[in-house]
């Protein structure tokens, strides 16, 4: 059914744009269909020069070209394609006449202009629809006025407006002048979801052509005449500079300056390569500045804090002590993960040009407003004096939520009084901080004589992890007696959100532990979870952060699609997790032949509400699984005296093409509005694989990465490439 909705919930979305100007890195595309009313393909600049603004998201030119602004940073989550699809759907635009432009930072026009938490689509879904529907309303009103017919008799389809009675017909462009002078309505009617023609179809990436022909579009590609390049040597964690000898570095041809600020030393020059050489010639002495930590220290800290640390109680249901006292069986296990770097393929970089009390910033950021705010704070200038142009991001994974690398570029530009682009090397990226925190969990389960889970204890210790637990997540709500505690260690090693923060490992630990508990009482791991979920549904204990029915939905569908337990030669591992408002269940299949286990397939069932773009959704689920699998299996980051030992991809091992099995994806048609998918498919993967490895070999993997565990070393797990 159609839905009437107020347009005025967010005024800023509907501010008219005075003079539509595009940013420097404008990416348009020109797939005109043969029967388009105008055959001439205009450049995006030509279109924008004559386009009329309808709202913050939308301008339309008299040629009928539709320009849709995508405000959120694009880092591979496909928002730059899926956001415009939603606007175009309600506008009834011809997708082939849509050009997409990445908007610059503009809090006057856009809310939540950031990429993180898989939150863009749920936040903007209705706003985008209204933006399209409002413009359509105005175009129809203009056509009705021009033709002197009732608006209710007008039909709109694929960028064409028509009136059957009079036989009149025209494209959007013919009405933009009049339409853009009309007043936006108080409320608009949104389309019935069953009438969608763009949403739900596999629309291709709007930047595809530019990406595949090498057009400049990433931050690292940005160039400004007269700009300098810079690279920075940063101090080890827990250290500060005591002395700098930069004489050799200054002698490198192409180096123009060396600048020291805080605990960093920047070499500045006219191209990148001389800086890479000069940076190695810096002679910097450091002295301790706080505690200098190594991985061995962390291991001791985990043991000590789990045993003796005072936990911050996150959840307390019932009487845990009595439950464990009366238990027929108790299962206990500890799980641990290392620090991880984000390692986006595009290393950190940013362009900054400080001129008096104004700053121009260009580059890859997930949080352009944070870049602005931190720059303004550093320089003591009003935030509006800082402009931020958002380039396409060569990955993010949470790394570019921080603005440390932006502020550095501002520091260097201020010092040399010139425009500068700071580039990080891969070694800088892996040693520079902002890691996924190392965490250890202890789980304890109390079961009664019937094998029912009556008590559940979770204690998590993290290195700068904040709260290591998620107290309203499953199995909370399904157990009478629960105690969840979180213990924090303030480490000198800096951490940051990393794709699916905390849950990227908590899900693995929890889903593996539930497997251990189910098997300890002789229950099928899927039935055991369903038993708990039914309890949470019929008689929930305390607050639940998840929708029990939706979780049961993905569990049941995954059981069916994976043929769970139906083929005795296939050993399977199950995992299900709710994060970032979406539900994902996964099953890993391992076949054992001649004593050799082979990981053959992962089946994933996702409930993210309505799927906006099936191609994008598939990408996010498969990519999340590959990411979750790769880091569970292969990747480690360890420290010696505050310095990471893995400094590039030769030792910091990322998953490769030959290590990826078949991944089969399914989506539940749950009827809910869309939720995000950048993160939710990652958390369940490690658990599904670890549980399958246990089913196939009897080896329980309680630490990551698997390849460094002695329980894994003689398994010789093969992967059948999919």
């Amino acid at each position: 059914m159609t839905m009437k909705t107020q347009t005025g919930t967010s005024r800023r979305d509907f501010l008219k744009i005075a003079g539509t100007t595009a940013g420097g890195l404008v990416i348009g595309f020109n797939w005109f269909s043969c029967d388009s009313p105008k055959m001439e393909v205009l450049s995006i600049e030509q279109v924008l020069a004559q386009a009329k603004s309808f709202n913050s998201f939308l301008s339309i030119s008299p040629t009928g070209d539709v320009v849709i602004y995508s405000p959120n940073p694009e880092l591979g989550q496909n928002i730059k394609t899926s956001f415009p699809m939603v606007v175009a759907e309600e506008l009834e635009a011809d997708w082939e006449k849509v050009r997409v432009v990445q908007a610059n930072l503009d809090p006057q026009k856009y809310e939540r202009q950031l990429t993180g938490g898989s939150g863009a689509m749920p936040h903007s879904w209705e706003r985008l629809r209204k933006a399209g529907a409002t413009a359509k309303f105005l175009l129809v009103a203009a056509a009705a006025q021009s033709w002197n017919v009732p608006a209710s008799e007008i039909n709109v389809s694929k960028g064409m407006i028509s009136h059957e009675g009079s036989g009149k017909k025209g494209h959007f462009g013919e009405f933009v002048d009049l339409a853009s002078t009309l007043t936006a309505p108080e409320e608009v009617t949104l389309k019935d979801k069953k009438d969608f023609t763009i949403i739900g179809t596999p629309v291709k990436n709007v930047d595809a052509k530019d990406m595949y022909t090498g057009k400049p579009m990433y931050g690292l590609d940005f160039h400004r005449e007269g700009m300098f390049y810079a690279m920075i040597q940063r101090a080890p964690f827990g250290m500060k500079i005591s002395q700098v000898d930069d004489s050799a570095a200054r002698g490198v041809l192409g180096v123009t300056n060396v600048v020291t600020f805080g605990s960093s030393v920047a070499v500045v020059g006219t191209s990148t390569w001389p800086l890479m050489k000069a940076k190695k010639m810096l002679k910097i002495s450091y002295e301790p500045d706080g505690v200098v930590e190594s991985t061995t220290d962390h291991d001791k800290l985990f043991t000590d804090l789990l045993a003796n640390g005072k936990g911050d109680v996150k959840r307390k249901d019932g009487d845990v002590a009595s439950a464990f006292k009366s238990a027929a069986k108790i299962v206990t296990a500890e799980y641990q993960c290392p620090f991880l770097a984000h390692s986006p393929m595009e290393p950190e970089n940013f362009f900054a040009h400080v001129q008096g009390d104004k700053v121009e910033l260009v580059g890859p950021t997930q949080t352009p407003d944070r870049a602005r705010q931190e720059t303004a704070r550093l320089l003591g200038i009003p935030p509006e004096n800082v402009s931020v142009e958002i380039t396409r991001l060569g990955g993010g994974f949470g790394r570019r939520l921080r603005a440390d690398y932006v502020v550095e570029a501002v520091e260097v530009s201020r010092a040399i009084q010139a425009p500068v682009k700071v580039t990080w090397s891969r070694e800088d990226e892996l040693t520079g901080g902002a890691y996924r925190p190392a965490v250890r969990y202890r789980f304890e389960a109390a079961l009664d004589a019937a094998g029912t889970l009556i008590g559940y204890k979770l204690r998590g210790v993290g290195m700068n992890a904040g709260n290591t637990t998620r107290e309203t997540n499953f199995p909370s709500g399904a157990v009478d007696h629960v105690l969840i505690e979180s213990i924090e260690h303030a480490s000198s090693i800096t951490t940051n959100a990393w794709r699916a923060p905390i849950t990227n490992f908590l899900a693995y630990a929890e889903q593996s532990f539930l497997d251990e508990v189910a098997l300890a009482v002789g229950k099928d791991p899927v039935d055991f979870r369903l038993e708990l979920l039914n309890r949470a549904k019929t008689n929930p204990v305390g607050a639940l952060g998840y929708d029990v029915d939706r979780m049961i939905g993905v569990v049941k569908m995954a059981k069916e699609k994976s043929n769970w337990g139906k083929n005795s030669s296939i050993k399977q591992g199950f995992s299900v997790y709710f994060s970032h408002k979406s539900y994902v269940a996964q099953v890993a299949d391992i076949e054992v032949s001649g004593g050799v286990p082979t990981l053959k397939k992962i089946t994933a069932v996702t409930d993210c509400g309505l799927v906006v773009n099936p191609t994008g959704a598939n990408h996010q689920v498969r990519g999340g699984i590959v990411d979750g699998m790769g880091h569970a299996m292969y990747t480690n980051l360890t420290f010696e005296a505050g310095v990471p030992k893995q400094r590039n991809f030769d030792t910091y091992r990322l998953i490769r093409l030959k290590e990826v099995p078949e991944i089969e994806t399914h989506f539940v048609d749950s009827g809910f509005d869309p939720t995000g998918l950048g993160e939710p498919a990652l958390p369940p993967t490690g658990g599904a694989i670890a549980n399958a490895i246990f089913a196939a070999t009897g080896r329980r993997l309680r630490s990551q990465p698997f390849i460094e565990q002695k329980e894994f070393s003689d398994i010789q797990l093969q992967i059948k490439r999919g």
């Binding site: 880092l75 591979g76 496909n78 596999p202 291709k204 990436n205 930047d207 595809a208 052509k209 990406m211 595949y212 022909t213 090498g214 057009k215 400049p216 990433y218 690292l220 590609d221 160039h223 390049y229 041809l253 191209s271 990148t272 390569w273 001389p274 890479m276 390692s343 986006p344 393929m345 595009e346 290393p347 396409r392 991001l393 060569g394 990955g395 993010g396 994974f397 580039t423 090397s425 891969r426 990408h619 996010q620 990519g623 999340g624 699984i625 590959v626 990411d627 790769g630 590039n648 991809f649 030769d650 990322l654 998953i655 490769r656 093409l657 030959k658 990826v660 991944i663 490439r721 999919g722």
Partner: protein, 152 residues
């Protein structure tokens, strides 16, 4: 500093750089051909892949002084309008997520298919295993290389 005459994408360029400057940085900083990407700098990820006399080459570890008269092709010169069969297959399959590694993937695939026009899946896997994609688009990469092989 030394002068080098380079043949890149069919055009001759003069550059004045140090002998040890990797081809990658000559392309990016001197010739403003930024389609070739920097990522690891040690020949581990393949983002910097170009063709040197038709062979897929890690430009991040290839000193400019080693190029001589060789023909260098970058992603910008792979085809005139992005219509190389591999580029078309990449569009058709809609391979990219963030897209940063894809120029290197395409250059590797194009050189590979030139030398092995009808590869088995196994051969595709072996050839493409040298390029890392952090977003995990590996399934689509395999699919696109297979498609390009069929359409050539």
């Amino acid at each position: 500093m030394a002068n080098f005459t380079l043949k890149v994408n069919g055009t001759t360029h003069q550059v004045e750089v140090e002998d040890d400057t990797p081809l990658l940085w000559v392309l990016r900083d001197q010739l403003n051909l930024v389609g070739t990407k920097f990522s690891c700098g040690i020949a581990q990820c393949g983002a910097c892949t170009v063709h040197v006399n038709g062979n897929a080459t890690f430009s991040c570890v290839t000193p400019v002084s080693s190029i001589g008269n060789s023909e260098v092709t970058t992603i910008e010169g792979l085809s005139k309008d992005g219509n190389h069969p591999v580029q078309k297959a990449w569009e058709e399959v809609d391979v990219a997520q963030c897209g940063y590694c894809q120029a290197g993937q395409i250059m590797n695939a194009a050189a590979f298919l030139e030398q092995n026009p009808s590869p088995t899946l196994e051969e595709i896997d072996n050839a493409m295993n040298r390029n890392i994609c952090r977003c995990g688009t590996y399934h689509k990469i395999r699919e696109a290389v297979s498609l390009a092989a069929k359409s050539k």
